[in-house]
């Protein structure tokens, strides 16, 4: 997003934020990241199962101390009910993408072959292009993107990472 990243160094962090579904909550959350110079790499928001609450998954990257402070500042927001910076192993994580790939007739079967390996579904086929739907881990989507780039990606859209904590305990 349009935030100057000054905390580029450091690992990726996946922060799950359960928020009250109130006006302005997205701005408040984004402001915390922006003010400390953190880039939001991806952001997914949807209603949570509980009435009146929404769940956000924010992927950012930065140094441990900086992210810890951001989590505390998020927790301080009145509309934030719960926030946690999850390690990859503790969560199931999925992302979806739709990718429009250039497919001249001589390349089509090669493209379809790659798509099959990734278990991507073709959801629209035109004369010179195919739109694929693919779901999986973010790294699988990265790999798919880089493979399809060989043929030529016209455009794509990713949902951003979604996570839920493993096991019975709520995220």
């Amino acid at each position: 997003m349009a935030v100057e990243a000054v905390n580029n160094a450091g690992a990726a962090h996946t922060i799950s934020v359960l928020v009250a579904d109130k006006p302005g909550v997205l701005v408040r959350v984004a402001t915390v990241f922006a003010r400390r110079g953190f880039n939001i790499d991806s952001l997914a928001v949807s209603p949570a199962h509980q009435k009146g609450l929404s769940r956000m998954t924010v992927v950012t990257h930065g140094k441990e101390e900086g992210v810890t402070q951001i989590v505390k500042q998020l927790d301080k927001l009145i509309d934030v009910v719960h926030v946690y910076d999850y390690a990859e192993m503790d969560v199931v994580s999925r992302e979806m993408a739709i990718v429009k790939v250039r497919t001249p007739s001589d390349k089509r079967s090669a493209v379809m072959e790659v798509a099959n390996i990734f278990r991507a579904k073709s959801v629209d086929i035109g004369k010179g292009s195919v739109v694929f739907e693919i779901t999986g881990s973010s790294s699988k989507l990265d790999a798919f993107e880089s493979m399809m780039d060989e043929f030529g990606i016209i455009e794509m859209m990713r949902t951003g990472k979604l996570i839920l904590r493993r096991g019975e305990t709520p995220t």
Partner: protein
């Protein structure tokens, strides 16, 4: 009954006495509902003044101060006041009129997206779009602004919302599942504090405004006396511990006493009680108290480890935590440490030179003010040199006696905050100590003070300079003065008189006592004392911005210094 009545009713229910306000098109229903209510309207002359008044009221009383302004420019004029209150954890509620909900986002007349403009400077905010939400929002606003770490809450009220007719009062049940005030005390954490304290031979209690907000002054005193530990207070912590106490070392930080800062450099343990390791305190963070054990009590978890990683910390209300801690601690072997500090006090006292026939110094005026008021006045300062000298020479002994814009450093705060303080504590002596720069930013409120006939003393220390900026230009920018000469100042006595306010001019050191006594005895309304002071004095001691505490300059110097790095 309309929406506006619900707002006013909620304020009455909260026991609000005063509302600091300014009318306009969008808040007409609210001003109409005020008539006949229990609330007393304080009509200000500028909305910034209204927020500072509410803030001064809040700091002096501990109760929320309430502001009512109109939409657009009325609302945006509160931003500086909100920042000031937010930085200093002051419970202020700002109610803004707003254009009709159907016009929002359409550039309607006097429309400003004040909800989004103010997000970074409030504890919380509301744009009320459903009239039924009014009672709930008002209740939540008060609850949020005064609990936990207090702070300002803004409520934006569209005119159709405040005009909506009601037959009965909607439910006011709070719905803030994400808001938790730390409750109880983490006993394990307190035990860790006690254990680390036990081995200290050179402890230092570092007390901030959190102790005042929590009402922990008695516990701080008990702890210091039980441990035999010296106490330093921050600019906003003044009043949390009597500065006349033998264990007091006064204010620390950029312009703190030399002995407080030497104590910081040499202590083996520093214990923050409601203080947040601000850059004006720590100087260069990477060199701050490297070898000392650091303890921290704060009600705001986001302050723990933000700048300094403590060896032990407890999140909670300072008073409750100290009550738990007190029985766990006993006297420390601090005799040698206290005598070292005593030596610093003798060797590096705060001092100034006031020749009796020479030009008047601000320090002398403030020193005399302190003695003539026996240190009992409620002092509200503005920002700059006079503020630092007031902090150095006006020793405090009680909580909520010292009001000053610390975090934001807002010029224009002192005088209106003093109006709020005087309203909060009508029987007491309130003195606004202001410089000629900041005073002019909000001195239109003289009308407000005059109308209310407040027996407020306004001491204008006039050196015809923006003295603190001039000081930095002299020290760090090779004496190149730029934009700091306030030529064109009015005659502040005549200015006051034009409002029907009495004014006294003070020019000679020999007259200081007589003039101050006259002002202190005057009770018919506000009085302005304009002290024309010498122009070139600089505030010392000084830790240059971004430098380590040990780089403190104790005595006035003309030596050229490196420009600040790593700090403003």
């Amino acid at each position: 009954m309309i929406g506006a009545d619900l707002v006013i009713r909620a304020l009455e229910k909260e026991g609000v006495e005063y509302i600091f306000g300014y009318p306009g098109g969008a808040n007409l229903p609210l001003f109409d509902s005020l008539v006949g209510s229990k609330l007393k309207l304080v009509l200000v002359r500028h909305e910034q003044g209204a927020v500072h008044m509410a803030d001064g009221y809040a700091r002096a009383s501990g109760k929320p101060g309430v502001v009512l302004v109109t939409s657009g420019p009325g609302a945006t004029n509160t931003v500086t006041g909100l920042l000031t209150a937010n930085m200093d954890s002051s419970p202020v509620i700002v109610l803004c009129g707003q254009t009709l909900t159907v016009n929002l986002g359409k550039d309607a007349f006097q429309e400003a997206d004040v909800f989004n403009i103010t997000i970074p400077v409030v504890k919380h905010s509301y744009l009320v779009s459903n009239p039924n939400d009014i009672p709930r929002v008002m209740r939540e606003a008060f609850h949020i602004c005064r609990t936990g770490r207090p702070g300002p809450v803004l409520v934006d009220l569209p005119k159709d919302v405040t005009s909506k007719a009601f037959e009965s009062v909607p439910d006011d049940t709070m719905d803030i599942p994400g808001y938790h005030v730390p409750e109880g005390v983490d006993r394990k954490g307190v035990e860790k504090l006690a254990a680390l304290l036990k081995t200290s031979r050179r402890p230092l209690l570092y007390v901030g405004q959190g102790a005042i907000i929590s009402g922990a002054h008695r516990e701080v005193l008990a702890l210091a006396e039980k441990l035999h530990a010296p106490v330093t207070t921050t600019l906003l912590g003044k009043g949390a511990f009597p500065e006349t106490h033998p264990l007091a070392v006064g204010m620390l930080g950029m312009h703190g006493t030399a002995y407080a800062n030497y104590s910081v450099v040499n202590c083996d343990l520093i214990f923050s009680i409601g203080a947040r390791w601000d850059d004006r305190i720590t100087g260069k963070l990477s060199e701050f108290c490297l070898d000392a054990v650091k303890l921290h009590i704060d009600i705001d978890p986001a302050e723990i480890g933000k700048l300094i990683r403590p060896n032990a910390s407890v999140v909670g209300d300072a008073k409750l935590v100290l009550k738990e801690l007190l029985p766990m601690v006993s006297k420390l072997k601090t005799e040698e440490w206290l005598s070292t500090i005593e030596g610093w006090k003798k060797q590096y006292p705060l001092k100034y030179d006031q020749p009796l026939d020479g030009e008047l110094t601000m320090q002398y005026v403030l020193d005399r003010l302190y003695h003539l008021t026996k240190g009992q006045a409620i002092v509200s300062t503005d920002v700059g040199q006079h503020q630092m000298w007031a902090a150095q020479f006006y020793l405090t002994s009680k909580p909520r006696q010292w009001l000053s814009s610390g975090g934001a450093g807002t010029m224009g705060f002192g005088f209106p905050a003093a109006i709020g303080a005087q309203l909060a504590r009508p029987g007491e002596l309130v003195v606004a100590v202001v410089g000629d720069g900041g005073y002019q930013m909000t001195f239109c409120e003289l009308s407000t003070a005059a109308l209310l006939k407040l027996p407020l003393k306004i001491l204008v220390l006039n050196n015809r300079y923006l003295g603190m900026v001039r000081q930095w230009q002299e020290l760090f920018f090779e004496d190149t003065l730029s934009g700091v000469d306030l030529e064109g100042n009015p005659d502040f006595v005549k200015h006051a008189e034009s409002y029907g306010i009495r004014g006294l001019k003070l020019e000679k050191a020999a007259d200081v006592d007589a003039v101050l006594k006259e002002a202190l005895a005057y009770n018919k309304g506000p009085i302005v004392i304009e002290a024309l002071t010498e122009r070139h004095a600089n505030v010392f001691p000084m830790i240059p911005a971004g430098a380590a505490v040990r780089d403190m300059i104790v005595e006035p110097t003309r030596r050229k210094m490196a420009k600040p790095e790593g700090s403003t």
